[in-house]
Symmetry: C2
Subunit: 433 residues, 2 copies
Amino acid sequence: MNSRSPAPGTTMAADEIARVMSDIGGAARAAAPRLALSTGAERNAALLAAARALRERRSGILEANARDMRAAQDRNLTAALLDRLRLDDRRVEAMARGLEEIAALADPLGTVSAEWTRPNGLHIQRVRVPLGVIGIIYESRPNVTADAGALCLKSGNPVILRGGSESRESSAAIHECLLAGLEAAGLPAAAIQLVPTADRAAVGQMLSGMTGLIDVVVPRGGRSLVERVQAEARVPVIGHLEGNCHVYVDRDADLAMARSIVLNAKMRRTGICGAAETLLVDRGCIATHLGPLVADLIAAGCEVRGDADVQRVDPRVRPATEEDWRTEYLDAVIAVRVVAGVDEAIEHIGRYGSAHTESIVTRNARTADRFLGRVDSAIVLHNASTQFADGGEFGMGAEIGISTDRFHARGPVGVEQLTSYKYVVRGSGQVRP
Amino acid sequence: MNSRSPAPGTTMAADEIARVMSDIGGAARAAAPRLALSTGAERNAALLAAARALRERRSGILEANARDMRAAQDRNLTAALLDRLRLDDRRVEAMARGLEEIAALADPLGTVSAEWTRPNGLHIQRVRVPLGVIGIIYESRPNVTADAGALCLKSGNPVILRGGSESRESSAAIHECLLAGLEAAGLPAAAIQLVPTADRAAVGQMLSGMTGLIDVVVPRGGRSLVERVQAEARVPVIGHLEGNCHVYVDRDADLAMARSIVLNAKMRRTGICGAAETLLVDRGCIATHLGPLVADLIAAGCEVRGDADVQRVDPRVRPATEEDWRTEYLDAVIAVRVVAGVDEAIEHIGRYGSAHTESIVTRNARTADRFLGRVDSAIVLHNASTQFADGGEFGMGAEIGISTDRFHARGPVGVEQLTSYKYVVRGSGQVRP
């Protein structure tokens, strides 16, 4: 962090913020070549030393978090927000283990993703290089400071972290551990910088005032943050829109499998982006499948909102409105609709979905292929829960989120998606005819 | 093209332009699923039929071009611009052959770029899909209408083409041939649309007024266009900045090879983005190498601007200023500087270059590896001419340009770079623990 930066939380004037952010961006840019040329061993040493520091400084981190929690309680923040903000021994240990897991991933840099030789003898390699300076804008969860900082470091990218004001003391304490790791490995402190002000003007600077200094911004937060980013950003964005995910139970679905998948997709964890929000059931199997599916959900504590057909199956089903088809509840609520078959399911998903993750349950391979081919979402599954939408579950290691963009990175954004590439061409004197 | 669109060149009010562009974007968006699900055979049939139409309608195209040329002459456009605008039998034939070559490329869609099976049995495939609706903003060369339209069609992306006002009659005639190809193949006409107005407000609409309708914009033009796009765009951009390309002749360079590469890199064609603009010569070989390199360039008709060391070698060398190191001449002019060795060359390129294409000439493998590893450009070459910076020369087929971005696509942008991907996951009832 820039030595002239004031302490976290300090109020600043607009021109002061612009100056501080410009200094931070300049320091990040200056650190980029050193980081790009660092060895995997150096970056891993920094990650492991940071993990050790997290464990050693646990009590200090928890004290900082207690100050954040008191301030949050004074501001009457919601219980859900307080839970996201809260750290305890287990969560600090999980952060440390997360850094160790990222250290254990293969080095994404320098790998040759393609190579070929031209008829004229030119040998061409496409080699992975860092993406550049990454800006991460997130909300209350302080563990994002560790996760996002570590993923960017692993992929050789200087990162500028701008966390939520609620978690500023916790994030600062975690950031100190990351800095200790960088120092232990002899890497520049500017590799991982934390924005020292909670002022929203700093976000504006990252989105539009630092072109040439920030190469890409990653918003991690709710719809309002993502929408602000998309409206204001003058730099490329890896966007994480909402996950209005669907499960379609086809007439050829195995009932036991459908019950298991629907219950897991909705209720395993309701607050993650891969949680199912709408269940579509084929009219061809409502006599056998719809009742048990709805009864399972209600028995598990889920509120079910349905169309007329679904309401007929169970008196506890409330009426669904047009708005329900568009809603990402992130809660124990599901919208259920009966459709005429796979094509109406595809059409419904195209109209109301957010192109995140959708699943079909069927034993019919042709119906499955139709769904997998025609549903235009980042992740489409056959006979599996939407809750597998996760970089770890994909075997990609930790992730910075699930991208619903089509540009650059789609689906889980892990270390590989935080890289770019260059072409290395070796010749023996070739000139172009 | 939308049936309510007025004829090319018609003047429109701002709200009329917004309405027309919104109609065009809506039609492109609506065409996307049909195009994404089209077969490679259908898309190739459209390309081949368009090539036939270009040949059959050649005289009409040349007449339209003659009208554009007369208007351009009346407006006293430069000779270089007139040359870019001019079509003749050979150029129309080259366009037709270009479409046939694009048809002959492998289908980029549906290919599996990675696949693996998880321990829980989930089988994951990363499958190429179209990128989305592409907007192409270009200047006077009418052949871009055919090339860009064909590349987007090949990759399954609806495209909105906005050509320069100078070439509007030529582009409209070429566009009619593309439409004939689409019709012959049974593909929607909205797959390739031409903006029917030369008003610059249409460009503004594409950059910021059509989010949700356009997924990515590709500017093909000079610095002012690229800068306008980068300043205004609210949609992702595949940017083509200038190519301030360098050749570094190392102390361990073979002299004959260095002479051949430098001459080719600068003089084969001076107007392309891969043309060398600055020559860096290692002080360790100026006694032997600098004189012949400079003499060759001057003999070939190139103006040489150099630092004091270079001026000393030949009285015809003019003094280079700081501005020369930053300049993309796109002409028979070169800046020449003596550097202390490979590290100073790398530093010079980092400071003044545009991260496009740079080449080192040396017999020393270690020096070459240092240069290739440390120069952060889209393309780095060892013992080969910078003029190989070209999708065709890379074996990627036709290209839409060379990207100097780090995000999504870097280097030549061919059909593969115009795709995104999705994850197709096949299970047997897996739920997440």
